[in-house]
């Protein structure tokens, strides 16, 4: 469990997340890709906290902030999905090409 190995794993999670966020058509699946990217970022932050900063608590703080970002992303994402579906009956990106309300 060395620092480079941890960073490679977090990079893999981030890469899969990038693939998912770009390739998926459904809003909820795109959100899953975003969450995976954040998961990779959090793992990298904790790995650097544990391996390179000597346990500086600000590293953990950064992870808490990333978790907050994740919660905000999920809540706003779900709210927007509900709103767009109610108004446009759209659950896919292709269906909201017209952004004018």
């Amino acid at each position: 469990m060395s620092l480079p190995a941890l960073l490679v794993v977090s990079a893999a999670l981030f890469g899969v997340g990038v693939y998912g966020a770009l390739s998926q058509q459904t809003f909820v699946m795109i959100m899953m890709g975003l969450e995976l990217m954040l998961s990779g970022a959090m793992l990298a932050a904790v790995a650097l906290w544990a391996g390179a900063t000597g346990g500086n608590p600000k590293g953990q703080l950064l992870t808490v902030v990333a978790m907050t970002v994740m919660a905000v992303e999920a809540a706003m994402g779900f709210a927007l999905v509900i709103n767009i579906y109610r108004i446009r009956r759209a659950e896919m990106t292709e269906k909201i090409k017209r952004l004018r309300g």
């Binding site: 469990m1 620092l3 480079p4 941890l6 960073l7 490679v8 794993v9 977090s10 990079a11 893999a12 999670l13 981030f14 890469g15 899969v16 990038v18 693939y19 998912g20 770009l22 390739s23 058509q25 459904t26 909820v28 959100m31 899953m32 969450e35 995976l36 998961s39 990779g40 959090m42 793992l43 904790v46 650097l48 906290w49 544990a50 391996g51 390179a52 000597g54 346990g55 608590p57 600000k58 953990q60 703080l61 808490v64 902030v65 978790m67 907050t68 994740m70 919660a71 999920a74 706003m76 779900f78 709210a79 999905v81 709103n83 109610r86 108004i87 446009r88 009956r89 659950e91 292709e94």
Partner: protein, 210 residues
């Protein structure tokens, strides 16, 4: 960051599980399975955090994701046309670009991780990470903590305002275009009226494609 062989074995098991589960999220047809594969990936990441000593963060990640992924599964079933995945189908676009972008992101970040020379200052075995995090949150970094709290409050209010069916002044959707049973045709605009049929055909053709 040293540990026994057992810790190494556990780390590699969780690492492989996290990445494979993440990959399966976009490979399975059943949407509930997709949501829970993502949950499995998060649980593995949380366990790696626990192995690294960040026990509080890892456990909170599992706690948070259990609820979030269940909500996600419910949303998928609500909004997707084929939630159970009984008929296999792919719902992807710009597939090749996405794969290339993912691989490039992985290669770039992994390269940084392998090449960069990080200082080797492991966390002391005697430290109390949870207590230190608590002192940091309510000490030096209180402003960050409070900002995160206020941001979450704003998010709650905004998401309820967006998602609520009824507001203070009546129906939230009042004045918006009534949804049609056929989701495809856009609300008729005077200037688009002429090209309407053509547009509809094109959209229909796209949906029938792979």
């Amino acid at each position: 960051m040293s540990g026994g062989t057992l810790v190494d074995v556990a780390f590699w098991a969780f690492a492989v599980a996290a990445v494979v589960a993440a990959w399966l999220v976009f490979r399975v047809d059943s949407m509930v399975r997709a949501a829970y594969w993502l949950f499995a990936s998060f649980v593995a990441v949380g366990f790696i955090m626990v192995l690294l000593g960040a026990r509080f963060l890892g456990l909170v990640l599992v706690l948070m994701m259990a609820g979030e992924m269940t909500i996600m599964a419910v949303f998928m079933v609500m909004f997707m046309m084929n939630p159970a995945g009984l008929n296999p189908m792919t719902m992807v676009h710009q597939h090749r670009t996405a794969i290339i972008a993912g691989v490039v992101a992985f290669a770039g970040l992994a390269g940084v991780g392998l090449v960069a020379d990080f200082p080797d200052r492991p966390v002391a075995a005697s430290s109390e990470p949870t207590a230190e995090l608590g002192r940091e949150l309510l000490g030096d970094s209180m402003l960050v903590f409070e900002t995160a709290g206020v941001t979450l409050l704003a998010t709650m209010i905004a998401s309820i305002a967006l998602a609520a069916k009824r507001g203070r002044f009546g129906d939230a959707a009042a004045g918006s275009v009534a949804p049609e049973l056929d989701p495809e045709p856009p609300p008729p605009d005077p200037e688009e009226q002429a090209g309407h049929d053509h547009h509809h055909d094109a959209a229909g053709g796209k949906e029938a494609g792979p």
